[in-house]
Symmetry: C2
Subunit: 215 residues, 2 copies
DNA sequence: ATAATGTTTAACAGCTTTGTTAATACATCG
DNA sequence: CGATGTATTAACAAAGCTGTTAAACATTAT
Protein backbone atom coordinates (compact mmCIF):
# COMPACT_ATOMS: atom_id res chain seq x y z
CA UNK A 1 0.00 0.00 0.00
CA UNK A 2 2.84 2.39 0.69
CA UNK A 3 4.25 3.67 -2.56
CA UNK A 4 7.34 5.83 -2.29
CA UNK A 5 7.75 7.75 -5.50
CA UNK A 6 5.65 6.18 -8.21
CA UNK A 7 2.30 7.78 -7.55
CA UNK A 8 1.19 7.63 -3.98
CA UNK A 9 2.63 9.92 -1.39
CA UNK A 10 4.85 8.53 1.29
CA UNK A 11 3.09 7.03 4.30
CA UNK A 12 -0.63 6.55 3.80
CA UNK A 13 -2.37 6.77 0.49
CA UNK A 14 -5.24 9.12 0.03
CA UNK A 15 -8.05 6.69 0.74
CA UNK A 16 -6.51 5.38 3.91
CA UNK A 17 -5.91 8.91 5.16
CA UNK A 18 -9.41 10.11 4.32
CA UNK A 19 -10.91 7.17 6.16
CA UNK A 20 -8.82 7.87 9.24
CA UNK A 21 -9.76 11.54 9.22
CA UNK A 22 -13.44 10.75 8.85
CA UNK A 23 -13.23 8.12 11.58
CA UNK A 24 -11.48 10.49 13.94
CA UNK A 25 -14.06 13.18 13.40
CA UNK A 26 -17.01 10.85 13.88
CA UNK A 27 -15.65 8.95 16.84
CA UNK A 28 -14.69 12.15 18.63
CA UNK A 29 -18.11 13.66 18.08
CA UNK A 30 -20.33 10.62 18.62
CA UNK A 31 -18.30 7.98 20.40
CA UNK A 32 -17.76 4.36 19.51
CA UNK A 33 -21.28 2.96 19.58
CA UNK A 34 -23.04 5.82 17.84
CA UNK A 35 -20.61 5.79 14.94
CA UNK A 36 -21.08 3.19 12.21
CA UNK A 37 -18.41 2.08 9.78
CA UNK A 38 -20.84 2.88 6.99
CA UNK A 39 -21.14 6.48 8.18
CA UNK A 40 -17.37 6.82 8.34
CA UNK A 41 -16.99 5.45 4.83
CA UNK A 42 -19.70 7.71 3.49
CA UNK A 43 -18.05 10.74 5.06
CA UNK A 44 -14.71 9.66 3.60
CA UNK A 45 -16.35 9.21 0.21
CA UNK A 46 -15.49 5.53 -0.19
CA UNK A 47 -17.32 2.25 0.12
CA UNK A 48 -17.35 0.78 3.58
CA UNK A 49 -15.47 -2.26 2.33
CA UNK A 50 -12.42 -0.01 2.06
CA UNK A 51 -12.58 0.71 5.75
CA UNK A 52 -12.39 -2.98 6.47
CA UNK A 53 -9.70 -3.44 3.87
CA UNK A 54 -7.41 -0.90 5.50
CA UNK A 55 -8.35 -1.24 9.15
CA UNK A 56 -9.93 -4.67 9.36
CA UNK A 57 -12.51 -3.96 12.06
CA UNK A 58 -14.36 -1.06 13.61
CA UNK A 59 -12.64 -1.73 16.90
CA UNK A 60 -9.21 -1.56 15.33
CA UNK A 61 -9.77 1.77 13.65
CA UNK A 62 -11.20 3.09 16.90
CA UNK A 63 -8.09 1.98 18.73
CA UNK A 64 -5.99 3.81 16.15
CA UNK A 65 -8.02 6.96 16.76
CA UNK A 66 -7.54 6.47 20.47
CA UNK A 67 -3.80 6.13 19.93
CA UNK A 68 -3.68 9.31 17.91
CA UNK A 69 -5.37 11.11 20.79
CA UNK A 70 -3.85 9.38 23.76
CA UNK A 71 -0.93 11.74 24.19
CA UNK A 72 -3.29 14.68 24.11
CA UNK A 73 -5.60 12.78 26.41
CA UNK A 74 -2.86 12.41 28.96
CA UNK A 75 -1.71 15.96 28.39
CA UNK A 76 -5.22 17.02 29.32
CA UNK A 77 -4.59 15.87 32.86
CA UNK A 78 -1.15 17.28 32.84
CA UNK A 79 -0.22 20.87 33.17
CA UNK A 80 -2.26 22.08 36.07
CA UNK A 81 0.99 23.11 37.63
CA UNK A 82 4.61 23.22 36.70
CA UNK A 83 7.74 23.84 38.69
CA UNK A 84 8.59 25.29 42.04
CA UNK A 85 8.15 28.87 40.93
CA UNK A 86 5.78 31.11 42.95
CA UNK A 87 2.79 29.00 43.86
CA UNK A 88 -0.20 31.01 42.74
CA UNK A 89 1.34 32.29 39.51
CA UNK A 90 2.14 28.78 38.36
CA UNK A 91 -1.19 27.39 39.48
CA UNK A 92 -3.05 30.13 37.69
CA UNK A 93 -1.10 29.64 34.52
CA UNK A 94 -1.60 25.90 34.90
CA UNK A 95 -5.38 26.23 35.07
CA UNK A 96 -5.28 28.62 32.17
CA UNK A 97 -3.07 26.37 30.07
CA UNK A 98 -5.34 23.44 30.81
CA UNK A 99 -8.39 25.41 29.79
CA UNK A 100 -6.72 26.66 26.62
CA UNK A 101 -5.73 23.13 25.77
CA UNK A 102 -9.37 22.09 26.08
CA UNK A 103 -10.41 24.96 23.82
CA UNK A 104 -8.16 23.47 21.16
CA UNK A 105 -9.61 19.99 21.72
CA UNK A 106 -13.16 20.72 22.80
CA UNK A 107 -14.46 17.28 21.93
CA UNK A 108 -11.83 15.32 23.80
CA UNK A 109 -13.46 15.37 27.26
CA UNK A 110 -16.80 14.13 26.03
CA UNK A 111 -15.10 11.54 23.85
CA UNK A 112 -13.19 10.11 26.79
CA UNK A 113 -16.20 10.27 29.06
CA UNK A 114 -18.27 8.36 26.51
CA UNK A 115 -15.61 5.73 26.14
CA UNK A 116 -15.23 5.31 29.89
CA UNK A 117 -18.96 4.98 30.20
CA UNK A 118 -19.87 2.63 27.39
CA UNK A 119 -16.65 1.01 26.26
CA UNK A 120 -14.29 0.84 29.22
CA UNK A 121 -12.91 -2.42 27.84
CA UNK A 122 -11.42 -0.48 24.95
CA UNK A 123 -9.45 1.58 27.45
CA UNK A 124 -8.21 -1.50 29.28
CA UNK A 125 -4.80 -1.56 27.64
CA UNK A 126 -4.29 2.14 28.32
CA UNK A 127 -5.25 1.91 31.96
CA UNK A 128 -1.76 1.35 33.34
CA UNK A 129 -0.37 4.29 31.42
CA UNK A 130 -3.27 6.53 32.39
CA UNK A 131 -3.12 5.46 36.01
CA UNK A 132 0.61 6.00 36.17
CA UNK A 133 0.35 9.48 34.69
CA UNK A 134 -2.47 10.33 37.02
CA UNK A 135 -0.67 9.15 40.11
CA UNK A 136 2.47 11.00 39.18
CA UNK A 137 0.57 14.21 38.63
CA UNK A 138 -1.59 14.02 41.72
CA UNK A 139 1.37 13.02 43.86
CA UNK A 140 3.33 15.96 42.56
CA UNK A 141 0.58 18.48 43.11
CA UNK A 142 -0.46 17.10 46.46
CA UNK A 143 2.98 17.59 47.90
CA UNK A 144 3.26 21.15 46.62
CA UNK A 145 -0.15 22.04 47.97
CA UNK A 146 0.59 20.46 51.34
CA UNK A 147 3.84 22.36 51.56
CA UNK A 148 2.03 25.58 50.85
CA UNK A 149 -0.53 24.79 53.52
CA UNK A 150 2.17 23.87 56.01
CA UNK A 151 3.82 27.20 55.36
CA UNK A 152 0.53 28.92 56.11
CA UNK A 153 0.44 30.50 52.67
CA UNK A 154 -2.95 29.15 51.60
CA UNK A 155 -6.08 27.95 53.31
CA UNK A 156 -6.25 24.39 54.51
CA UNK A 157 -7.85 22.54 51.64
CA UNK A 158 -7.97 18.88 50.79
CA UNK A 159 -5.57 18.71 47.82
CA UNK A 160 -7.68 16.01 46.21
CA UNK A 161 -10.78 18.18 46.39
CA UNK A 162 -8.88 21.15 45.04
CA UNK A 163 -7.71 19.22 41.99
CA UNK A 164 -11.23 17.90 41.52
CA UNK A 165 -12.52 21.48 41.68
CA UNK A 166 -10.15 22.62 38.98
CA UNK A 167 -10.54 19.66 36.69
CA UNK A 168 -14.31 19.36 36.92
CA UNK A 169 -14.81 23.08 36.49
CA UNK A 170 -12.62 23.16 33.42
CA UNK A 171 -14.12 20.04 31.89
CA UNK A 172 -17.69 21.13 32.62
CA UNK A 173 -17.34 24.03 30.24
CA UNK A 174 -16.79 21.54 27.44
CA UNK A 175 -18.90 18.60 28.52
CA UNK A 176 -22.05 20.23 29.79
CA UNK A 177 -22.38 23.61 28.14
CA UNK A 178 -22.44 22.57 24.46
CA UNK A 179 -25.43 20.20 24.79
CA UNK A 180 -27.18 22.77 26.96
CA UNK A 181 -26.70 25.40 24.30
CA UNK A 182 -28.01 22.95 21.74
CA UNK A 183 -31.34 22.99 23.55
CA UNK A 184 -31.53 26.44 25.02
CA UNK A 185 -29.66 28.95 22.92
CA UNK A 186 -27.91 28.60 19.62
CA UNK A 187 -24.81 30.71 19.53
CA UNK A 188 -22.15 32.10 17.20
CA UNK A 189 -18.55 31.01 17.15
CA UNK A 190 -17.06 34.26 18.39
CA UNK A 191 -19.71 34.53 21.08
CA UNK A 192 -18.81 31.03 22.13
CA UNK A 193 -15.16 31.97 22.42
CA UNK A 194 -16.14 34.96 24.51
CA UNK A 195 -18.23 32.83 26.84
CA UNK A 196 -15.41 30.38 27.31
CA UNK A 197 -12.96 33.18 28.08
CA UNK A 198 -15.32 34.52 30.74
CA UNK A 199 -15.71 31.06 32.11
CA UNK A 200 -11.97 30.64 32.35
CA UNK A 201 -11.60 33.90 34.29
CA UNK A 202 -14.38 32.90 36.64
CA UNK A 203 -12.84 29.51 37.34
CA UNK A 204 -9.51 31.10 38.15
CA UNK A 205 -11.16 33.64 40.43
CA UNK A 206 -13.04 30.83 42.13
CA UNK A 207 -9.93 28.81 42.89
CA UNK A 208 -8.02 31.90 43.94
CA UNK A 209 -10.57 32.90 46.55
CA UNK A 210 -10.77 29.31 47.74
CA UNK A 211 -7.05 29.42 48.46
CA UNK A 212 -6.50 33.01 49.54
CA UNK A 213 -9.87 34.47 50.54
CA UNK A 214 -10.17 35.29 54.22
CA UNK A 215 -13.65 34.78 55.58
CA UNK B 1 -52.36 -10.92 33.28
CA UNK B 2 -52.44 -10.46 37.00
CA UNK B 3 -55.96 -9.81 38.06
CA UNK B 4 -56.67 -9.22 41.70
CA UNK B 5 -60.33 -9.97 42.23
CA UNK B 6 -61.30 -11.07 38.85
CA UNK B 7 -60.74 -7.43 38.07
CA UNK B 8 -57.69 -5.75 36.74
CA UNK B 9 -55.70 -3.79 39.21
CA UNK B 10 -56.49 -0.16 39.03
CA UNK B 11 -54.54 1.61 36.33
CA UNK B 12 -51.85 -0.53 34.74
CA UNK B 13 -51.68 -4.28 34.77
CA UNK B 14 -48.56 -6.04 35.84
CA UNK B 15 -46.99 -6.47 32.42
CA UNK B 16 -47.48 -2.88 31.44
CA UNK B 17 -45.99 -1.73 34.72
CA UNK B 18 -43.00 -4.05 34.51
CA UNK B 19 -42.25 -2.83 31.02
CA UNK B 20 -42.39 0.78 32.12
CA UNK B 21 -40.11 0.13 35.06
CA UNK B 22 -37.60 -1.71 32.92
CA UNK B 23 -37.73 1.01 30.30
CA UNK B 24 -37.21 3.73 32.86
CA UNK B 25 -34.23 1.97 34.34
CA UNK B 26 -32.58 1.31 30.98
CA UNK B 27 -33.26 4.70 29.44
CA UNK B 28 -31.97 6.49 32.52
CA UNK B 29 -28.81 4.46 32.59
CA UNK B 30 -28.03 4.23 28.87
CA UNK B 31 -30.05 6.87 27.09
CA UNK B 32 -32.35 6.55 24.11
CA UNK B 33 -30.04 5.21 21.42
CA UNK B 34 -28.12 2.72 23.52
CA UNK B 35 -31.30 1.10 24.80
CA UNK B 36 -33.12 -1.40 22.60
CA UNK B 37 -36.73 -2.38 22.95
CA UNK B 38 -35.58 -6.00 23.04
CA UNK B 39 -33.36 -5.28 26.05
CA UNK B 40 -36.23 -3.58 27.84
CA UNK B 41 -38.55 -6.50 27.18
CA UNK B 42 -35.97 -9.02 28.32
CA UNK B 43 -35.41 -7.08 31.53
CA UNK B 44 -39.15 -6.91 32.08
CA UNK B 45 -39.42 -10.65 31.40
CA UNK B 46 -41.79 -10.39 28.48
CA UNK B 47 -41.53 -10.68 24.72
CA UNK B 48 -40.73 -7.47 22.95
CA UNK B 49 -44.02 -7.62 21.11
CA UNK B 50 -45.67 -6.72 24.41
CA UNK B 51 -43.73 -3.50 24.55
CA UNK B 52 -45.10 -2.52 21.17
CA UNK B 53 -48.54 -3.71 22.15
CA UNK B 54 -48.69 -1.41 25.16
CA UNK B 55 -46.57 1.51 24.05
CA UNK B 56 -46.62 1.27 20.28
CA UNK B 57 -43.09 2.55 19.57
CA UNK B 58 -39.77 3.00 21.27
CA UNK B 59 -40.09 6.75 20.97
CA UNK B 60 -43.48 6.76 22.69
CA UNK B 61 -42.32 4.78 25.68
CA UNK B 62 -39.29 7.02 25.91
CA UNK B 63 -41.52 10.07 25.96
CA UNK B 64 -43.52 8.48 28.77
CA UNK B 65 -40.31 7.97 30.73
CA UNK B 66 -39.40 11.57 30.03
CA UNK B 67 -42.80 12.67 31.32
CA UNK B 68 -42.41 10.68 34.48
CA UNK B 69 -39.10 12.45 35.10
CA UNK B 70 -39.84 15.89 33.81
CA UNK B 71 -41.00 17.34 37.07
CA UNK B 72 -37.90 16.06 38.76
CA UNK B 73 -35.90 17.29 35.81
CA UNK B 74 -37.21 20.79 36.31
CA UNK B 75 -36.86 20.49 40.05
CA UNK B 76 -33.20 19.75 39.42
CA UNK B 77 -32.75 23.31 38.27
CA UNK B 78 -34.94 24.65 40.95
CA UNK B 79 -34.07 25.10 44.54
CA UNK B 80 -30.70 26.75 44.50
CA UNK B 81 -32.25 29.46 46.60
CA UNK B 82 -35.52 30.12 48.30
CA UNK B 83 -36.98 33.24 49.85
CA UNK B 84 -35.68 36.50 51.20
CA UNK B 85 -34.27 35.00 54.37
CA UNK B 86 -30.59 35.65 55.18
CA UNK B 87 -28.72 35.40 51.92
CA UNK B 88 -25.91 33.00 52.63
CA UNK B 89 -27.93 30.63 54.79
CA UNK B 90 -30.52 30.18 52.09
CA UNK B 91 -27.95 29.91 49.33
CA UNK B 92 -26.02 27.31 51.26
CA UNK B 93 -29.11 25.28 51.98
CA UNK B 94 -30.13 25.71 48.35
CA UNK B 95 -26.86 24.26 47.09
CA UNK B 96 -27.12 21.49 49.63
CA UNK B 97 -30.71 20.69 48.73
CA UNK B 98 -29.82 20.62 45.08
CA UNK B 99 -26.92 18.28 45.73
CA UNK B 100 -29.05 16.01 47.93
CA UNK B 101 -31.68 15.92 45.24
CA UNK B 102 -29.06 14.74 42.77
CA UNK B 103 -27.94 12.07 45.21
CA UNK B 104 -31.46 10.71 45.09
CA UNK B 105 -31.53 10.87 41.30
CA UNK B 106 -27.91 10.31 40.38
CA UNK B 107 -28.65 9.22 36.83
CA UNK B 108 -30.82 12.15 35.92
CA UNK B 109 -28.08 14.60 34.88
CA UNK B 110 -26.40 12.14 32.53
CA UNK B 111 -29.76 11.09 31.16
CA UNK B 112 -30.69 14.65 30.29
CA UNK B 113 -27.25 15.43 28.93
CA UNK B 114 -27.43 12.39 26.67
CA UNK B 115 -30.84 13.37 25.42
CA UNK B 116 -29.79 16.94 24.76
CA UNK B 117 -26.76 15.68 22.89
CA UNK B 118 -28.16 12.91 20.73
CA UNK B 119 -31.92 13.35 20.70
CA UNK B 120 -32.68 17.04 21.18
CA UNK B 121 -35.72 16.60 18.94
CA UNK B 122 -37.32 14.47 21.65
CA UNK B 123 -37.02 17.42 24.03
CA UNK B 124 -38.56 19.81 21.53
CA UNK B 125 -42.02 19.78 23.07
CA UNK B 126 -40.61 20.36 26.54
CA UNK B 127 -38.44 23.27 25.52
CA UNK B 128 -40.94 26.02 26.28
CA UNK B 129 -41.62 24.65 29.72
CA UNK B 130 -37.93 24.17 30.45
CA UNK B 131 -37.02 27.59 29.12
CA UNK B 132 -39.74 29.25 31.14
CA UNK B 133 -38.67 27.54 34.34
CA UNK B 134 -35.07 28.41 33.67
CA UNK B 135 -35.78 32.04 32.99
CA UNK B 136 -37.91 32.37 36.08
CA UNK B 137 -35.23 30.84 38.25
CA UNK B 138 -32.31 32.75 36.84
CA UNK B 139 -34.24 36.00 36.91
CA UNK B 140 -35.14 35.42 40.52
CA UNK B 141 -31.63 34.59 41.59
CA UNK B 142 -29.98 37.28 39.54
CA UNK B 143 -31.97 39.98 41.23
CA UNK B 144 -31.22 38.68 44.71
CA UNK B 145 -27.54 38.42 43.95
CA UNK B 146 -27.44 41.88 42.43
CA UNK B 147 -29.17 43.31 45.47
CA UNK B 148 -26.64 41.67 47.71
CA UNK B 149 -23.80 43.07 45.63
CA UNK B 150 -25.35 46.53 45.61
CA UNK B 151 -25.58 46.37 49.40
CA UNK B 152 -21.88 45.55 49.52
CA UNK B 153 -22.55 42.28 51.28
CA UNK B 154 -20.82 40.00 48.80
CA UNK B 155 -18.09 40.31 46.25
CA UNK B 156 -18.94 41.59 42.80
CA UNK B 157 -19.60 38.47 40.80
CA UNK B 158 -21.38 37.93 37.54
CA UNK B 159 -24.61 36.25 38.72
CA UNK B 160 -24.70 34.11 35.60
CA UNK B 161 -21.21 32.81 36.27
CA UNK B 162 -22.06 32.16 39.89
CA UNK B 163 -25.06 30.03 38.99
CA UNK B 164 -22.96 28.23 36.39
CA UNK B 165 -20.36 27.58 39.08
CA UNK B 166 -22.89 26.04 41.40
CA UNK B 167 -24.77 24.01 38.83
CA UNK B 168 -21.75 22.68 36.98
CA UNK B 169 -19.95 21.81 40.20
CA UNK B 170 -22.96 19.93 41.52
CA UNK B 171 -23.69 18.15 38.27
CA UNK B 172 -20.04 17.23 37.71
CA UNK B 173 -20.06 15.02 40.74
CA UNK B 174 -22.71 12.89 39.06
CA UNK B 175 -21.80 13.19 35.40
CA UNK B 176 -18.03 12.90 35.45
CA UNK B 177 -17.02 11.01 38.54
CA UNK B 178 -18.92 7.74 38.02
CA UNK B 179 -17.36 6.94 34.62
CA UNK B 180 -13.97 7.99 35.95
CA UNK B 181 -14.33 5.60 38.85
CA UNK B 182 -15.36 2.91 36.40
CA UNK B 183 -11.92 3.15 34.85
CA UNK B 184 -9.68 4.14 37.71
CA UNK B 185 -11.02 2.86 41.00
CA UNK B 186 -13.93 0.63 41.79
CA UNK B 187 -15.58 1.69 45.00
CA UNK B 188 -18.10 0.61 47.61
CA UNK B 189 -21.51 2.16 48.12
CA UNK B 190 -20.83 3.66 51.52
CA UNK B 191 -17.47 4.97 50.35
CA UNK B 192 -19.25 6.54 47.43
CA UNK B 193 -21.67 8.26 49.76
CA UNK B 194 -18.77 9.53 51.80
CA UNK B 195 -17.02 10.91 48.74
CA UNK B 196 -20.16 12.70 47.63
CA UNK B 197 -20.65 14.22 51.07
CA UNK B 198 -17.10 15.53 51.01
CA UNK B 199 -17.67 16.86 47.56
CA UNK B 200 -20.77 18.69 48.69
CA UNK B 201 -18.91 20.35 51.55
CA UNK B 202 -16.12 21.39 49.23
CA UNK B 203 -18.50 22.92 46.71
CA UNK B 204 -20.20 24.93 49.42
CA UNK B 205 -16.87 26.11 50.78
CA UNK B 206 -15.82 27.07 47.28
CA UNK B 207 -18.88 29.21 46.64
CA UNK B 208 -18.70 30.73 50.08
CA UNK B 209 -15.15 31.94 49.66
CA UNK B 210 -15.99 33.22 46.19
CA UNK B 211 -18.67 35.42 47.73
CA UNK B 212 -17.17 36.34 51.06
CA UNK B 213 -13.43 35.73 50.91
CA UNK B 214 -11.32 38.86 51.10
CA UNK B 215 -8.17 38.67 49.06
C1' DA C 1 3.84 -7.31 -22.70
C1' DT C 2 2.97 -9.93 -18.98
C1' DA C 3 2.89 -11.54 -14.47
C1' DA C 4 2.47 -10.15 -9.80
C1' DT C 5 0.73 -7.28 -6.56
C1' DG C 6 -2.21 -3.79 -4.68
C1' DT C 7 -6.78 -1.34 -4.70
C1' DT C 8 -11.69 -0.97 -5.30
C1' DT C 9 -16.33 -2.39 -6.05
C1' DA C 10 -20.59 -4.89 -5.67
C1' DA C 11 -22.76 -8.46 -3.78
C1' DC C 12 -23.80 -11.08 -0.07
C1' DA C 13 -23.98 -13.41 4.72
C1' DG C 14 -25.33 -13.27 9.32
C1' DC C 15 -26.88 -10.68 12.99
C1' DT C 16 -29.67 -7.22 15.40
C1' DT C 17 -32.87 -3.71 15.29
C1' DT C 18 -37.94 -1.87 15.30
C1' DG C 19 -42.33 -2.93 14.32
C1' DT C 20 -46.41 -5.86 12.56
C1' DT C 21 -49.55 -9.63 12.35
C1' DA C 22 -52.07 -13.88 12.55
C1' DA C 23 -53.14 -17.22 15.58
C1' DT C 24 -54.08 -18.47 20.20
C1' DA C 25 -54.99 -18.40 25.14
C1' DC C 26 -57.57 -16.15 28.63
C1' DA C 27 -60.81 -13.76 31.41
C1' DT C 28 -65.06 -11.71 31.84
C1' DC C 29 -69.81 -11.08 31.24
C1' DG C 30 -74.30 -11.92 29.42
C1' DC D 1 -72.08 -22.11 28.55
C1' DG D 2 -70.77 -19.18 24.82
C1' DA D 3 -69.71 -14.67 23.03
C1' DT D 4 -66.60 -11.01 23.29
C1' DG D 5 -62.76 -8.33 24.01
C1' DT D 6 -58.14 -8.44 25.88
C1' DA D 7 -53.42 -10.36 26.51
C1' DT D 8 -49.76 -13.03 24.71
C1' DT D 9 -46.86 -15.55 21.69
C1' DA D 10 -44.23 -16.85 17.71
C1' DA D 11 -43.21 -15.81 13.35
C1' DC D 12 -42.15 -12.67 10.12
C1' DA D 13 -40.58 -8.36 7.39
C1' DA D 14 -37.78 -4.52 6.32
C1' DA D 15 -33.82 -2.05 7.34
C1' DG D 16 -29.26 -1.27 9.07
C1' DC D 17 -25.10 -3.06 11.06
C1' DT D 18 -20.27 -5.42 10.65
C1' DG D 19 -17.54 -8.09 8.06
C1' DT D 20 -16.19 -11.21 3.93
C1' DT D 21 -15.36 -12.43 -0.74
C1' DA D 22 -14.89 -12.94 -5.63
C1' DA D 23 -14.07 -10.47 -9.30
C1' DA D 24 -12.66 -6.16 -11.69
C1' DC D 25 -9.44 -2.69 -12.08
C1' DA D 26 -4.91 -0.29 -11.51
C1' DT D 27 -0.05 -0.16 -10.81
C1' DT D 28 4.48 -1.83 -10.67
C1' DA D 29 8.14 -4.80 -11.72
C1' DT D 30 10.26 -8.23 -14.85
Amino acid sequence: MVKINGQKTAGQNDTERKIMEAAEEMFLRNGYNMTTTTMIARKAGVTHAMLHYYYRTKEQIFIKVLDRNLDELLASFHPVMKKDAPFWETLESGISTHFDFLMKHPELPTFILDTMRFNPELLESYKPRIRETLLRITGFHFSIIKDEIAAGKIREVDPEQLLLDIITLNLSAFIMLPPARKVFTEISDTRNRQILENRKKEIIALIKSRLYGKL
